[in-house]
């Protein structure tokens, strides 16, 4: 088997493994921020490994350039998105890390909140 094919097989397999790890992390980590960590590191790594693995198979020059451009775009977006999501998760910790009903009983919740004020 040629060197290029061996290279591709190794890197693509590693990439697939990274995606699997990302999925496991998403499912099993305890809270939103650590899941975000799993997501942004592992799946960008997976994509990078897959792209690197595909480089020997791509046509030169435009195929290779397109792949590299795609990878660069993903990395940049992934980094910025990870930061942005982390900020959002941190600022809205209560609301989006668990599921609460979006339609509470009309009036009951706010009445309960208003009562301590009027009672005190």
């Amino acid at each position: 088997m040629s060197l290029a094919n061996a290279f591709t097989m190794v890197f693509v397999s590693l990439g697939a493994l990274a995606f699997f790890a990302s999925w496991v992390g998403l499912l099993r980590f305890p809270d939103a921020l650590s899941r975000l960590h799993a997501l942004s590191k592992a799946d960008n790594l997976g994509l990078g490994l897959v792209v690197v693995g595909l480089l020997p198979q791509a046509s030169w020059p435009f195929g290779v350039l397109k792949l590299v451009a795609l990878w660069l775009v993903s990395v940049l977006i992934g980094g910025a998105t990870g930061q942005m999501l982390a900020g959002v998760i941190h600022a809205n910790a209560g609301q989006i890390s668990d599921d609460r009903e979006t339609r509470p009983d009309t009036g009951a919740k706010s009445a309960a909140r208003a009562n301590p004020e009027t009672a005190s």
Partner: protein, 105 residues
């Protein structure tokens, strides 16, 4: 080589499809969004791998569009939560709640 690439593509696709379980389960919308992101990135990888069997130029273009717009869901999500709406925000965050701070502060 084609057989290997296709198998790897299918494997990655199946993995990120399993991530959809996270959409259903949650808990919380942040995890759901992350599952969508995973689907996007995994979709890009799967398309690149499966593209060798279909039409490589076209699938690479599609992968490029997916990669570009994968950030959009996250942008939309952060926009939707920009300022916590009054009704369901609890006061413990101190992120400017309107007049209803409870007496025990």
């Amino acid at each position: 080589m084609t057989g290997f690439l296709l198998t790897a593509g299918v494997f990655i696709l199946l993995t990120v499809l399993l991530g959809l379980v996270s959409i259903l389960r949650g808990p919380g919308d942040a995890v759901r969004l992350m599952a969508v992101q995973l689907l996007g990135t995994g979709g890009v990888a799967a398309l690149l791998l499966l593209g060798s069997a279909i039409d490589l130029t076209a699938t690479t273009d599609l992968a490029l569009v997916l990669a570009l717009l994968s950030g959009f869901a996250a942008v939309a999500f952060s926009v939707a939560l920009g300022r916590a709406p009054a009704a369901s925000s609890d006061d413990r965050h101190g992120s400017d709640p309107p007049d209803d701070s409870p007496a025990g502060d």
